[in-house]
């Protein structure tokens, strides 16, 4: 007893023995680090070789059906049933619910089939709808920001040329064919010479009907020679001829304009140019344009981000 007591008295405490053990040179420099390496490799290996999740064999709560592991939400089922029957879900019959569920499962099958067939790659409508859906999500937060009057006015000031009122013109568009077009056998050069002569005659006061008969002009058919709004005239004449028309005053005749369908000569009967609209009179348009510009900016930024994250390769000789 005395010997054991003396042994107990001289034996170090457990904690001290533990510290002394851990501080052993071989343990500290070799064994413990090795254990750490092994544990780390084991953890990495376990995550790497984790087994694939097993397919679900029953419908998880919150879903009404699984179609090839893709869930049909219970909430969607209720909403669809109420929408199709016009009644509260609780008041719908089992037959109605079965019909709606069958339709929803059919739609899910078709959607999955569409993915298998790679329809987003091959069908324009699908691609456009998907792109529109993405843009809708991008634009949604912006739409919550109501523009102030100052912002609208600044936008109006920056795009003042867009906002005009009125503007009409009555113009004749005379056309001289060439090069076999519409049975005309003269060359472009010949047509231009004839057109220049016709312009001289018109500017000297010759009637349009005389000039048309004498030189072989026809009415192009782009405008109907009655007063029309400027924006309509622009649509009918096209950008090039409209630009020429805007330089003409009342009674003036343009120089010949060579285009693909022949040589045109414009005769302006009467023009009342558009006048700038004051802000208050075009507020609604400015508001819509502002919103559209903000949405376009958001879409452009989204595309910039997508491009920065994508690896886009172009075939030789291609550029964008």
């Amino acid at each position: 007893m005395a010997q054991s007591e003396s042994i107990q008295a001289t034996r170090p405490r457990f904690g001290a023995r533990l510290v002394r053990t851990l501080a052993h040179p071989r343990l500290a420099t070799t064994v413990l680090p090795a254990c750490g390496v092994v544990l780390g490799l084991a953890a990495a290996g376990a995550s790497l070789f984790r087994p694939v999740a097993r397919p679900l064999t029953s419908v998880p709560p919150g879903y009404v059906a699984l179609v090839d592991q893709k869930g049909v939400l219970m909430s969607d089922f209720i909403a669809q049933t109420q929408s199709e029957t016009g009644a509260d879900f609780a008041d719908t019959s089992p037959q109605e619910r079965r019909r709606v569920l069958r339709e929803m499962i059919d739609q899910e099958l078709l959607v999955q089939r569409a993915l298998v067939l790679d329809l987003p790659e091959t069908t324009t409508e699908v691609r456009e709808t998907m792109a529109s859906a993405v843009n809708a999500q991008v634009e949604a937060p912006l739409l919550a920001l109501e523009p102030t009057d100052a912002q609208l006015r600044a936008f109006y000031d920056a795009h003042r040329a867009r906002y005009t009122l009125g503007g009409t013109m009555t113009v004749h568009d005379l056309l001289l064919h060439f090069g076999g077009y519409a049975d005309a056998d003269q060359t472009l050069a010949q047509a231009e010479v004839d057109a220049a002569e016709a312009v001289y005659q018109l500017r000297s006061g010759a009637p349009i009907d005389y000039v048309m008969e004498h030189y072989g002009f026809v009415d192009s058919g782009r405008v109907d020679n009655t007063e029309q709004l400027e924006f309509a005239a622009k649509l009918h004449l096209g950008a090039k001829l409209y630009q020429v028309a805007t330089t003409l005053g009342d009674g003036e005749v343009s120089d010949p304009v060579a285009m693909a369908d022949g040589v045109h000569v414009l005769v302006m009967d009467r023009r009342r140019p558009p006048r700038p609209a004051d802000f208050d009179s075009v507020r609604n348009t400015v508001y819509s344009d502002y919103r559209a510009a903000e949405s376009a900016r958001a879409r452009a930024e989204n595309l910039r981000i997508l491009r920065s994250q994508a690896r886009i390769l172009l075939a030789p000789g291609q550029s964008e």
Binding site: P60, P61, E139, A140, P141, L143, A144, E146, N284, Y287
Partner: protein, 248 residues
């Protein structure tokens, strides 16, 4: 055995017991979560156990995700136009668990096609659709509808605008009681998400309102969304608060 061996043994037993208790608690939680979701939305509040579980789950979720807009007290934020969730006035649906759940799932004007997105409040003033005076008259009419002090003559002019040029009745209904299919508020209950003082009413009409709520499907689990829906439903229905008391 030496003392340290007894200590180690006791420690191992305690750890094992703790692990078993944690596993059991986790299992119970999973069972309640499945049951919460499997129960039809209209029937959840009839089960105090599920209501209690929903409250336990939803409180931290609401604090983390919802309070930033709807307020920690769920009384809404006028500056954001985020509604009071504890009153009985609903923009969409009738405040049922299903309707609240649907709003949380897909949001309001979130960009998702299933979100509430039929229309919004147009900017009558910014768009030049109504004059300044007409808008102020409509404000007076709204004050009159809510039995608040108003200018009688202006209110009458506002009524004409409400049913005429403004076409306000088109969304807010001919009795001005709103339409929860559109999210058009009831204008007769004196509940104003963006402020009910004349200046705020004026701004709502002048600049319009196009508030959004994000879609939480994909961010929160279905169980979490159901728990939040139950939580909000019970707290917004005084008659239901008995089930909250029963839930503890």
């Amino acid at each position: 055995m030496l003392r340290w061996q007894w200590v180690a043994a006791a420690l191992i037993v305690a750890l094992a017991a703790g692990a078993v208790a944690a596993a059991r608690a986790h299992g119970e939680r999973e069972r309640l979560a499945r049951r919460l979701l499997a129960t039809p939305p209209g029937e959840v509040v009839e089960h105090p156990t599920l209501v209690r579980f929903a409250f336990t789950e939803a409180r931290p979720l609401f604090a983390q995700h919802c309070a930033v807009c709807h307020g920690a007290d769920m009384r809404g934020t006028v500056a954001l136009g985020a509604p009071d969730l504890r009153d009985s006035v609903w923009l969409y649906g009738d405040g049922s668990v299903y309707d609240i759940e649907r709003t949380i799932l897909f949001g309001v004007r979130s960009g998702q096609s299933k979100s509430h997105n039929v229309t919004d409040m147009p900017a009558f003033g910014a768009r030049g659709m109504l004059s300044d005076e007409q808008i102020r008259d409509v404000v007076q009419y709204l004050l009159k509808l809510n039995a608040r002090p108003h200018q009688a003559e202006a209110a009458e002019d506002g009524r004409v605008v409400f049913y005429g040029k403004g076409d306000c009745f088109d969304c807010h209904a001919s009795d001005a009681r709103g339409d929860s299919d559109y999210g058009a508020p009831d204008l007769t209950v004196n509940v104003w998400d963006s402020g009910g003082d004349p200046d705020s009413l004026y701004r709502s009409i002048y600049y319009g309102r196009h508030r959004i709520m994000p879609a939480w499907l994909g961010t929160l689990s279905l169980e979490q969304i159901r728990a939040l829906a139950v939580y909000i439903h019970v707290l917004s229905h005084p008659a239901r608060r008995g089930s909250q008391a029963a839930a503890g």
